[in-house]
Symmetry: C2
């Protein structure tokens, strides 16, 4: 008697011998091969498609005969006629092992498939969502053995899927009976498994096999913008991404103004909570419409946000976050039901996961960056900077990770800048100043060409040139320095000193004219001394935060820098370093992680293990409080200058210090320091 | 060196040796003595009061010196001055063991104190509520070790009370920060421990030591009446009891009419759900007001109800309960939050416990009766009958318990009776007919005297004599039989046959005049042949249900009978047996359990272990479905007569059968049987 047939699965390489007649799905399950199935092997969901290979496979030492699998059967025939199977594909639950065989599990048949992120980073997201679909056949009620419909559904899940500890909300219970009967006691349930208590919650139930998909939202709730990614929970695909202004802006542009609003107005926190929850509902409706899906199929939402937004989302008065010791009401992650946040636009029973906060100033958004960029798994020492109104800074490697936040203010986002504007069509996003002619050229959002390239003016005639956005102002300041138009203290030279009429007096200081659109009714776009001071304040705060972490870690350089944040993606590493935003590292060691916080939210949405992981990681992070650290002030003051000694472009030093002592930065520093201290509390 | 002092606690008898200086509370805890403490030994809650005994205690073999405890200290002095301590009392957390001592723990200092029920039964309720108060000192926030306020509260509960796995709803989180600060980081929390998952939920938090008490509602949600007992969760005391009409009556008097309403009117189930929830809110407000407590201190509510009310309370369309196979949406117990049932009158975070249902016809009310009366612990075979519009019947002893429900209809409650009315002042509740004179005497609700006693007419002149309630009609029918005015088939004799003008013709049959109040503008109160038929139907259904269980059990007699239900308390055992409502047992073996379902609710409210117990018991009960059992019909038909052979009063047999064959009950029986069958489905 010959031995049982050998089955080898690719790409896993798992192998084993099974009696003739064993369904491929059964063999896969026994070997722990990652082969999907919603219907449990009933030949109706088609999730278990496999591709058998025939011929000889020296790598696996197997010769596969043509009859290594049972013949194409009527279930497969029916499925193929109804929905179509790709050539060479079989249904794993129908095809039986008859001889030695090599079976490939295509990516779309794997539960734990990997999703390649679109962002620059090469990391992939491994699919292992908290919520999955299960098809079950439920026993019909029997008067002689009275049990509830829910209890029989629970028994079916236990017997057919080995799922214990099932729970159902009242809202589900109230629809269970008609759905069971409509589906003739065959139903598909969406089950959410908690990573905390291993309880499986029934989020939704459909009659028969549900093929309409299952979706989740990853939401990056920022002070200014709320961004959402609608994600397919089966494939990990981002179906649509959309953003909306945070309506809380009407209560205050920055976080501290909102905290003040809550303090000054009884019920003010409640107003802001209502506003942001309504906006999230609007966003959810819009994004579902955009993707053409039923918003009721959105069964999970993951939030990342800073601590003030965190509290305002949750309906907690943020007043404690506005004053030392900046106590959070809770720092742990939260698992909630959609109605607790009044999220009526999505499924009634949708589960909400809010990432943990790191500290009173370092929020769930920073935790999401840590989840996305994984400094704690880095071999070399990485500095990760998430640039926004508030910068989140992480420094670490495998041995230890530190975190702080730094109150950079809104200058990096183009706010409080004379010609500044939000990143929108018409905004100058990149700028170069010729070191010889001192003439600028630039690029605006909405046009790929530089201003000295042919066709630029035609292509920008609709939007016009309307202002400078965050990345543009950073480049402008750095370029002024590199073109020798500004000294190390940040003072712009006069037309005489610099030899260009683009430098012109404005008040007691000088400004630089980037572009005069006034002939066409547009603005006169300039970089003023005040703009440079604002950028200096911001970059000093950022640099001081990074330095503080380096001090705590006991190093004076880092191996690499990661710029995160939607804005981080647009910052030129060269200009950031010239400006002294970040410590010096070789240029090729500066990378952009894109919207790392949003990516972290997506990871937590698609992978339940990532939730447990980030909760553990956050506890291990060393929190550094910039507000009470005297060294932060020292670093802040020291960082005010545009770097000189470490300057890779020594020719920039040629402008002599200006003769007028009133332009000396010494006096300003104190003032800036004071301003810094005030603003720090708002972080 | 002498050995450590011996400490003996009474009444437990627990004893042990402790080093001099050990606080009594500490000694009690180490020995597992049931000594309460909310403040954890800080000398502020006074829950740990004990009474040391001095002198010689031969029983315990201890001689107690006057200085066996440390001296009265300043904490006790302050407490005594502020609140007063009973003479001889000490605070267990302050008094230290200095020598051999006998210490009594008074009942009010025991957590698991026993509460004597007011009902006839001698059983006591052992206090072990799911929700208890804990005073904690919480660490203040520290910028250098940032943690959330909730996490520090959780740590305090872990370290000071060894409580793990604490959860808090968003609504609690939103008030936590101000309360912690108001209490200078000393707070009292109400913690609810689940018997299912061992999770401790923070239901409420107060600054400092909360001394305002903690309350729960035990609610018996009937088809007609909603009754609530407001219970002190610390002492078990019932602070107030109150009832309210079930407003669903406007959608249908009986349960089947309500199921029909739901079937015929889209959204009709929702209307009825809203109505009953609003009524419960009203009831909760009223009962809190009556007891003079803040309704916000009601942190738990337990519900018992029949399956249709169960579904309508939960917001589940009861349509499946109106047709075979009578499938419940869920039969298991439910643990919910108050907002899930729109219970806005009590604490936002109050926990709701709904007892499990036994079957589609045998509800959580029957489960509550099983919890209260414990047939499964009975040494002899007990038949427990909860009489209402629907009778719940339990039969069992230690070896096995069976349950069914039987559709008695509303006759036992005075409905569908010609002079019938609800039990209210003015209603005849007891009646006796002189076997010689055939004259009646009676008692009405609101007056303790019989109608032949002096002062009766004066005392009842305000209410008047308005009708007959359930217990009155049962007695009237039994008395008619005992007075020889009615034959075994239930026919009332004529004036000639009976020799009394109180028997008078009405249509083709006779009626009996109980009282003619028409001279004073009141009604003419009679018992008609139709009334007797209605009572015969009801009692036959009840008896048939009991017999069916006896058949299933294989017995033809029971050892004892327990009449439960608010109505059961008023039924005379003698009359019930004459009528044939219940199987024959010696009269002294018939007891009333009062409102056993309500008591079951109170037990589940006061003792967390009772919840686990009843969930287990319900699974073990054998469910018998009367609707599909042919023997039920046989028993029903056979039970129609007013017993004869087993009649303890043979002289009642003297009325000869009436000559007119149209008065023979044979024809009626078929009709009654048909009516029975129709009504049965509504059970």
């Amino acid at each position: 008697m010959s031995s049982d047939p050998l089955v080898v699965f690719t790409p896993s390489g798992k192998r084993g011998r099974f009696p003739k007649g064993t369904p491929v799905l059964t063999a896969a399950r026994q070997l722990g091969v990652d082969l999907d199935s919603v219907c449990g092997g009933r030949g109706i969901c088609s999730k278990c498609q496999i591709t058998p290979s025939y011929g000889e496979f020296s790598k696996h030492g197997v010769t596969v005969a043509d009859d290594a699998l049972s013949e194409w059967n009527s279930v497969e025939e029916r499925y193929d006629q109804k929905r179509g199977l790709k050539p060479g594909r079989r249904l794993g639950c129908q095809a039986q092992v008859m001889g030695d065989v090599v079976i490939d599990v295509p990516a779309e048949s794997q539960v734990h498939k990997q999703v390649v992120r679109k962002a620059a980073s090469a990391r992939v997201i491994q699919m292992d969502p908290a919520t999955r679909l299960y098809f079950v056949e439920v026993d019909e009620p029997d008067m002689h053995e009275p049990t509830g419909d829910l209890e029989r559904l629970e028994r079916a899940l236990r017997e057919q899927w080995q799922i214990e500890a099932v729970r159902a909300d009242l809202t589900l219970l109230s629809k269970l009976q008609p759905v069971l009967r409509k589906g003739k006691f065959q139903v598909t349930v969406a089950l959410h498994k908690s990573h905390k208590d291993n309880v499986a919650r029934i989020l939704e139930v459909w009659p028969g096999l549900h093929e309409g998909g299952l979706y989740g939202l990853a939401i990056d709730l920022g002070s200014t913008t709320i961004a959402a990614h609608l994600t397919d929970l089966e494939t990990g695909e981002v179906m649509a991404s959309s953003g909306i202004m945070n309506p809380q802006i009407r209560f205050g542009e920055d976080l501290m103004s909102r905290v003040s609003y809550a303090m000054m107005n009884p019920g003010g926190d409640r107003e802001m909570t209502t506003a942001v929850r309504e906006a999230i509902n609007t966003l959810a409706e819009e994004i579902a419409k955009e993707a053409g899906i039923d918003a009721n199929l959105i069964v999970e939402t993951v939030f990342v946000c800073n601590p003030v937004m965190h509290h305002l989302l949750l309906g907690i008065d943020p007043v404690e976050l506005g004053q030392a010791p900046f106590a959070l009401a809770t720092s742990e992650s939260l698992s909630l039901n959609a109605p607790e946040l009044d999220l009526t636009a999505i499924n009634d029973r949708a589960r909400i996961y809010v990432l943990p906060c790191i500290a009173g100033h370092v929020g769930a958004d920073a935790a999401a960056v840590a989840l996305s960029e994984e400094p704690g798994k880095s071999e070399d020492l990485a500095l990760i900077v998430d640039v926004g109104t508030n910068a989140e800074i992480l420094l670490g490697d495998k041995s230890r990770v530190l975190a702080c936040s730094s109150p950079t203010g809104p200058a990096f986002e183009g706010a409080q800048i004379s010609s500044g504007q939000r990143a929108a069509p018409g905004a100058i996003e990149a700028i170069r100043i010729d070191p010889v002619t001192k003439e600028p050229r630039f690029r605006v959002i909405g046009c790929d060409k530089w201003s000295d390239e042919e066709g630029f003016w035609e292509e920008t005639s609709v939007t016009g040139i309307t202002g400078i956005c965050g990345s543009g102002i950073i480049e402008a300041v750095a370029e002024l320095r590199m073109a020798g138009l500004m000294d190390a203290s940040g003072l712009i030279g006069s037309a005489e000193q610099t030899g260009t009429p683009r430098c012109f007096p404005e008040g007691r200081t000088n400004a630089y004219l980037v572009h005069d659109a006034s002939a066409e009714g547009g603005p006169k776009i300039t970089v003023t001394q005040g703009d440079i001071r604002a950028i200096q304040l911001a970059k000093s705060a950022l640099y001081a935060g990074a330095r503080l972490l380096m001090d705590e870690r006991g190093v004076d350089k880092v191996d690499r820098v990661v710029l995160a944040g939607a804005f981080g993606a647009h910052i030129s590493a060269l200009h950031a370093m010239v400006l002294g935003m970040i410590p010096d590292v070789p240029l090729e060691k500066v990378t952009s992680a894109g919207n790392a916080a949003g990516t972290g939210a997506r990871i937590a949405l698609c992978n339940i293990g990532a939730r447990a992981e980030i909760e553990k990681v956050v506890r291990q992070i060393t929190k550094v409080e910039t507000a009470i650290e005297p060294k932060f002030q020292d670093h802040f003051v020291a960082a005010n200058a545009i770097p000189h000694k470490t300057d890779p472009f020594p020719e920039l030093a040629r402008i002599a210090p200006l003769p007028n002592p009133s332009f000396n930065t010494g006096g300003d520093t104190g003032g800036e320091d004071g301003g810094r201290r005030r603003r720090r509390r708002r972080a």
